[in-house]
């Protein structure tokens, strides 16, 4: 009697384990909500505001995908992940996509079985030091104590940089950005290192941001982008082309303000195809015809998202740099929509 109950329970568990491999796109549609992994809080990229609403550059990508798939940018469940938990959360299916300043690397793409769906921010690792130290170049940091946020590519780049320049340093690995910041401000480390965008975002929250300088050296390439699980190409395509739609929208001059107007029909066939008035790009992906329209209407194009969250007019004050459109000397380049 007892045995049969046990085996029954095991059988149910077995079916449940087997059933998890359905298509993510169908899962998201059935659930009516997108589970999106973000940071535990990095102002400008992903942080809850005073009302508990998540906002930021990475959050906008999540919301754009939710708008494209479900037609509702608020149908997102944000799952805060640390540098440690993010990959497990994605691999286990707890989240559908990860938009968390994650650097696209070979081993993450191949060995960890993820698919990077593009780059939404071209970054590089930098160093921040107090101005009073009088350091002007990262090459003068021999013997310094360096605070690092653990669980990132940062540690490896740092080790490589100091080794390549034949310098020594003492690492202080810290679990979260907030704690690392506190150590740095107390002078327990001379240098704080992470992605240059992260440094700018962190510095913006300091009491006196002008007392700290960011070194001119960028010691690594950090293409940050959203990623999904390997092996579900349909879902990967949805995330990839939603991101491309935002980039292409900026290039073609589609903004959140004029998107509805342009959706009535224009002379530019590519604009029409993106906004769903010509062709059936949405249907090819299993999405409604107005998928990109919804995403652009609610979040704005790539340039608008950048300016609103991390641009020069925000406290974070990042210039476009590499993240400008290819027509303006940057690297943002969307393949043709046809």
């Amino acid at each position: 009697m007892k045995k049969s109950i046990l085996f029954g329970a095991l059988a149910v568990a077995g079916f449940a384990a087997g059933g998890a491999a359905a298509s993510t796109l169908d899962d998201v549609k059935a659930r009516g909500k997108l589970n999106c992994g973000v940071t535990t809080g990095l102002v400008g990229f992903a942080a809850p505001d005073a009302n508990g609403e998540w906002n930021g550059f990475d959050v906008a990508v999540c919301r754009a995908v939710a708008a494209a798939v479900l037609g509702d940018p608020t149908a997102v469940e944000f799952v805060p992940t640390t540098g440690k938990t993010r990959f497990t959360a994605l691999a286990s299916g707890e989240i559908d996509m990860l938009a968390r300043n994650t650097t696209w690397t070979f081993s993450r793409d191949i060995d960890l079985k993820f698919d990077f769906t593009g780059v939404n921010y071209y970054d590089g690792q930098g160093f921040m030091v107090p101005k009073e130290l009088g350091v002007t170049s990262a090459k003068e940091l021999d013997g310094a104590t360096v605070c690092i946020q653990t669980g990132t590519t940062t540690e490896l780049n740092l080790a490589d940089f100091f080794r390549a320049n034949n310098m020594s340093y003492e690492p202080v690995p810290i679990e979260t950005n907030a704690e690392a910041q506190q150590q740095f401000l107390a002078g327990a480390c001379d240098v704080y290192t992470t992605d240059a965008s992260g440094l700018a975002a962190t510095r913006a929250t300091f009491e006196d941001p002008t007392a700290y300088v960011i070194m001119p050296e960028i010691i690594s390439k950090e293409p940050l982008g959203p990623l999904v699980r390997h092996g579900d190409s349909e879902w990967g395509d949805v995330v990839r082309w939603t991101l491309f739609a935002l980039v292409a929208a900026e290039e073609l001059g589609i903004t959140s303000a004029n998107a509805s107007e342009l959706a009535a029909g224009t002379n530019n066939p590519e604009v029409n195809r993106i906004l769903g008035t010509e062709g059936d790009l949405g249907a090819m992906m299993g999405l409604p015809a107005d998928w990109a329209l919804k995403a652009i209407q609610t979040q704005g194009n790539y340039g608008e998202i950048f300016a609103k969250n991390i641009g020069v007019d925000t406290p974070i004050g990042l210039a476009r740099g590499l993240n400008a459109q290819w027509t303006e000397g940057g690297l943002m380049y969307a393949p043709p929509f046809r």
């Binding site: 540098g83 691999a91 060995d111 669980g151 490896l156 080790a159 003492e170 690492p171 002078g187």
Partner: protein, 410 residues
């Protein structure tokens, strides 16, 4: 004439497995075992199947690849080009270091506080009660962070030692207390006997072990003399000589001198650095667990009947000797078993090290290596194995000690 025969041999029948009380419990245990094995096999099979489905496999190859990251406190030589395995070993040693240090100091804190809690002095008694209640009722992670934060905020940064008229100066010109750690003079050997530094120090330790045996022999001799003549010979200067002369001569031959830390660039260099994270973790673990040990000690002492104290007093022993010679040895029987679990707690709680950036095994193998290689299951299994091994070893050693002090029933 009667023939003695054996009683008829009982036939074993299958039904006896259930009906006979001699076999019934075995039957059920057997069934439970089979079910357990199947359950574990099912779970393991499910894991492997799901991993294969996701295109992943269990592999420990990453252990032998370069780790690529640096560690701030390494007891053995280590660079970012060393393997992940070596990084894990560095972490293991760091865990053992902080756990060992904390076990010693927690015992000292605990025994002191436990004994003082029974003091006749009202103020001391209450102070110890406050210590115990405050420290054991706040989670240890909070204590670790509080102590580390206070340390980094209160102590000066190394830059405060710089300049003609610095804000901070070194204590006696020898010790530097900074918010990155404490720098103390380090021993250096000018003319070592062996090329490997460790071997030289091993030789010194060997000499000290020899001195310990010498000291014991002296003690045995003095006791024998005392029993024969009734007068214990004065031996303290002999003991001192046995301890210090051989090791002193050896160190003099090897040319011992002290290297004093000096500010160079961003940090102090030279001497020995005791890192801030180590100090904070060590102190927090000691003072937190010390509060628990204090309660064990108090319970142990109170378990000894009052008659023992009175009997000892009537023999003319002074209160200090009553405690040391009569009460504590008996109390140990009650104190040791819970003390074992406190030592295990210290070892396990040391895994909170990452909160202050101390590179223990959870931070290296279970933190950075896990992250950089993405081999979560493998790393966590290894970690579990490590903590299990170390806890069982501590438990085994302490049980042996417990057997040696427990009441011998004859």
């Amino acid at each position: 004439m009667t023939i003695l025969t054996d009683p008829p041999e009982e036939q074993f029948r299958i039904s006896m497995l259930l009906s006979d009380t001699r076999y019934r419990s075995l039957t059920f245990q057997g069934i439970a075992l089979v079910v357990l094995i199947f359950a574990i096999a099912y779970l393991a099979g499910n894991l492997i199947q799901n991993l294969t489905q996701a295109g992943l496999s269990i592999s420990y190859e990453f252990l032998f690849k370069p780790s690529g990251y640096d560690i701030n406190q390494t007891l053995i030589p280590y660079t970012s080009q060393s393997t992940n395995l070596r990084a894990a070993i560095v972490g293991v040693l760091n865990t053992l270091l902080v756990a060992g240090l904390a076990c010693v100091t927690a015992t000292i804190f605990g025994v002191t506080a436990g004994v003082l809690r029974l003091s006749k002095n009202w103020l001391i008694r209450k102070l110890m009660a406050v210590y115990v209640e405050i420290f054991r009722n706040i989670p240890v992670l909070i204590w670790i962070i509080i102590i580390f934060t206070i340390m980094t905020a209160v102590m000066p940064a190394p830059s405060a030692f710089r300049g003609e008229d610095p804000d901070s100066t070194m204590l006696l010109g020898l010790f530097a207390f900074t918010n990155r750690g404490v720098y103390v003079p380090g021993p250096q050997l000018a003319s070592p006997l062996f090329a490997a530094t460790a071997l030289n120090w091993f030789l010194v330790v060997l000499f000290l072990v020899g001195s310990w045996f010498g000291g014991r022999a002296l003690g045995t001799w003095a006791t024998a003399k005392q029993e024969a003549t009734g007068v214990r010979p004065t031996t303290w200067y002999w003991t001192l000589a046995i301890w210090f002369v051989p090791a002193g001569i050896l160190l003099a031959i090897m040319g011992l001198h002290w290297q004093i830390p000096a500010l160079k660039g961003f940090n102090f260099s030279g001497g020995i650095k005791v890192g801030g994270p180590l100090i904070a973790l060590w102190f927090a673990l000691s003072i937190y667990t010390g509060a628990f040990i204090a309660e064990n000690v108090r319970a142990g002492i109170q378990a000894i009947s009052k008659g023992q104290t009175e009997a000892a007093a009537s023999l003319g022993l002074r209160p200090g000797r009553i405690m040391n010679l009569v009460i504590l040895p008996q109390a140990l029987r009650v104190i040791i078993p819970p003390l074992i679990s406190q030592y295990l707690n210290i070892t396990k709680n040391s895994s909170l090290a990452i909160a202050v950036g101390y590179a223990d095994v959870t931070a290296t193998l279970g933190g950075i290596t896990l992250n950089q290689t993405g081999r979560a299951i493998e790393c966590v299994l290894l970690l579990m194995l490590f903590y299990l091994t170390i806890s069982l070893s501590i438990s085994a050693v302490m049980n042996i000690y417990n057997n040696s002090v427990k009441l011998k029933e004859r």
